[in-house]
């Protein structure tokens, strides 16, 4: 089941909302049951992996709390990672020896595995007490708003809210706003970007301009798609009394790659920072050690996204850029703001060309196209598509900045009840796009 489907929006979600508000004391149990059903709906028997993750992390954390040892932590982490390693990386590793296997990746396994890992690590470090009630813990790990595509929610961030359900109409209304905005971003903007990007990628005679236009569209589509999901997750969290942390903060306005990653998929970057980078020593080490740490962290970040060479390349690409910024470019980027914006935007767009091309031959063709090697700059067909798509691209670029949010904050009180009309119009538009779509999963489902 995907959030942007009729089944989810008009059946599953209202039923869960009504059930929880009729039986607020059973919120966690209702969330658990509905989340298991949600996962079963799409993944059938793989729900057993999710249930095992709940049971194991719950029981092991309680044991770890009273038997703290690094060896036990390593054991717990290893068990947590077994399923992820098997389902996600076995085919890739066997492929290195020319052995072909077909293993289906259960949706969301990367996310709930990392949530389990963060929980064990936090219990070990004493940052949080092991949860005594299994239902509360299982509700946390399986919670459907963030189960399959994040954000990666740390137990400590919602522990207090797990034990007490505080609801208010203001909070619920905030949730509606985030949910509608997320749905609009996904269905109206991201899906349209995806369709147009597909057209640009299949032109008879691509040009340098069409390659760059396609790259812009791909990067923006991934942003709107993924941030939309986070918006909807955060919105639904508010419905049920949870305040998830923000996962995106207008990453395309960043002035350095380092800043970009402070704004993009924040829950993942902070996970790797807190559980890998800092334990390795972080930046408080010699330069050579710092470089190694960065390469490890970013290799893992890339590898987390997918078991393919392009994802590893993607991770290393960012490592090199961030190292270069740390060592040489940081001050210069601070002093030249406009250049910083352009530099970051272009390099991020290039990174998503790597990200979206697992076929390395195809990747090379795309790079040659971007650089204009044996490819014309422009032609009639490209001009036609520029004329058709540029207004929409500009709308997307502006929407990717905080401008809309700032205007909303300034005018929210002034526009009064008209805000409801705007939200309902956005909701109706999203429904229009939903009904005219066939299947539209979130891109990050594959992770």
């Amino acid at each position: 089941m995907v959030f942007s489907s009729v089944s989810f929006i008009f059946y599953f979600l209202p039923i869960v909302i009504v059930a929880i508000y009729l039986l607020p004391k059973q919120r966690n149990l209702i969330l658990l049951i509905s989340s298991i059903f949600f996962y079963f709906y799409g993944e059938k028997m793989y729900v057993a992996i999710l249930l095992f993750a709940c049971l194991f992390n719950y029981a092991f954390a309680r044991y770890l709390e009273s038997h703290r040892s690094k060896r036990m932590l390593v054991l717990g982490v290893a068990v947590d990672l077994i399923a992820l390693l098997y389902f996600k990386y076995t085919a890739f590793l066997l492929g290195l020896f020319n052995i072909s296997v077909n293993i289906v990746l259960p949706i969301g396994i990367s996310f709930f595995t990392f949530q389990g890992l963060s929980y064990l690590c936090d219990v070990y470090e004493g940052r949080v007490a092991a949860e005594r009630r299994f239902i509360d813990f299982a509700a946390y790990l399986t919670m459907f708003p963030q189960l399959v595509a994040g954000p990666i929610v740390r137990y400590q961030d919602i522990a207090a809210e797990l034990s007490v359900f505080k609801s208010s109409s203001d909070s619920f209304a905030c949730g509606i706003r985030r949910f509608i905005v997320g749905l609009f971003k996904k269905l109206v903007i991201a899906n349209t970007l995806g369709e147009l990007a597909a057209i640009l990628a299949s032109l008879n005679e691509p040009t340098v301009v069409s390659y760059w236009l396609d790259a812009f569209f791909d990067a923006l589509q991934i942003y709107f798609d993924f941030s939309a999901y986070s918006d909807m997750a955060i919105g639904m969290g508010l419905f049920f009394g949870f305040h998830f942390l923000e996962n995106f903060n207008y990453p395309f306005i960043a002035r350095s790659i380092r800043e970009f990653w402070q704004r993009w998929h924040i829950s993942l970057s902070t996970f790797f920072k807190d559980y890998v980078y800092i334990p390795l020593g972080g930046s408080k080490v010699k330069i050579s050690r710092y470089i190694i740490n960065m390469l490890i962290v970013w290799f893992l970040t890339g590898f987390w996204h997918g078991a393919d060479w392009n994802f590893m390349l993607w991770g290393i690409y960012f490592a090199v850029l961030i190292i270069a910024e740390k060592l040489w470019l940081s001050r210069w980027l601070n002093d030249h703001r406009i250049f910083g914006h352009v530099y970051t935007f272009v390099l991020v767009v290039i990174s998503f060309v790597i990200f979206t091309n697992p076929d390395l031959d195809r990747l090379l063709i795309n790079f040659k196209g971007l650089l204009g090697l044996n490819v014309p700059l422009l032609n009639v067909e490209t001009i036609y598509y520029c004329r058709n798509y540029l207004p929409f691209l500009l709308i997307c670029l502006i929407s990717a900045t905080p401008l809309g949010h700032k205007l909303y904050e300034r005018w929210q009180k002034k526009i009064g009840y008209a805000e409801i009309a705007v939200l309902m119009i956005m909701f109706m538009m999203a429904i229009g796009f939903l009904l005219d779509e066939s299947f539209n999963p979130f891109l990050y489902f594959r992770f």
Partner: protein, 352 residues
Amino acid sequence: MMKNKILITLFMLVLIVGGVSPFFDQASISFSERRSLAVFPDVWENGNLNAGFFDEADKYYSDHFLLRDEFRALKGFVISQIFHIGEYNGVFMQDNYLFKKDEFDQKAVERNIAIINEIAADFNNCYLTIIPNKAEYARGYHDNYDFNELVSFINEKAEITFIDISSSLSLEDYYRTDIHWRQEQIGGIAELLVSEMEMSWIAGKYENESYYPFYGALYAEIASSVKPDTLVYLDSETIKQAKVYDLESDKYITVYDQQDLLSPDAYDIFLGGPKAYLKIENPASKTDQKLIIFRDSFASSIAPLLIESFEQIELIDLRYYDRSLIKDLKLDNEATVLFMYGSQIINSYAVR
């Protein structure tokens, strides 16, 4: 805060009404999308749980959602008017018209012309005409290929006389939401073709019958805010008396069957839609002229306007009739033969 309470109420209302609405919709066909609508799936299939139940149910909810057509039109409005995306899903909208571009595929055209030449070799009097894509008449908005390039190429390859009707057509002669031309606008084309084929033209006296709303093929391909067409078909005593033999059903049908207006494609009103072979006989004919048309769907709407001038018209659609079996039809090789295709078909491999 009252504003928040109103927002919550409206939101939940939309969810509940939207969720309940599919179960009150009994429609089985969408005329705007020209297809059958999904049926609610069975939970059990052959004693086992239906593995596709959830996906099929989702399709049902979507198909029968309240005001589905209006929501789709809203999407079309957003795409064209807010995002100013001129072309979407291969279809572009301008001035309340929908267009679909096609490609000039030289290899396909060469192949099709070779087939036409091969068939024409068995007849004494052959002609060829191509109906332009209506995008040809919306120049300045898109980059569809120039129809004159296609005509030049055809003239190089065809061994029979080409009748160019493109300058006699305009955008208004086509439906807004469909690729086809409008029957009430092409009387002049019918007369032009007959005179170019050096035959006698007899004008008919027609009554306009109309049907609204006609959702053309392009409307179904893209959610659009373009208004549907009014389909007009021209009827007369001659047409009513014409005998139409349908080889596939081995029955006699009528030129127009009003039941076809209730099918997903109302254009089927013209001679019953796609048919492999039809023979139209005019018992009240004032001539002994005979015409054979190798054709696609464009001929379905112009053929009724030709009945007045001919004793017999045979229509053969090579997309559905294997050309190796043409000899079985025992066609009169003294008859005049017209090859009539839309530019989309001549640029495709649809002819078998």
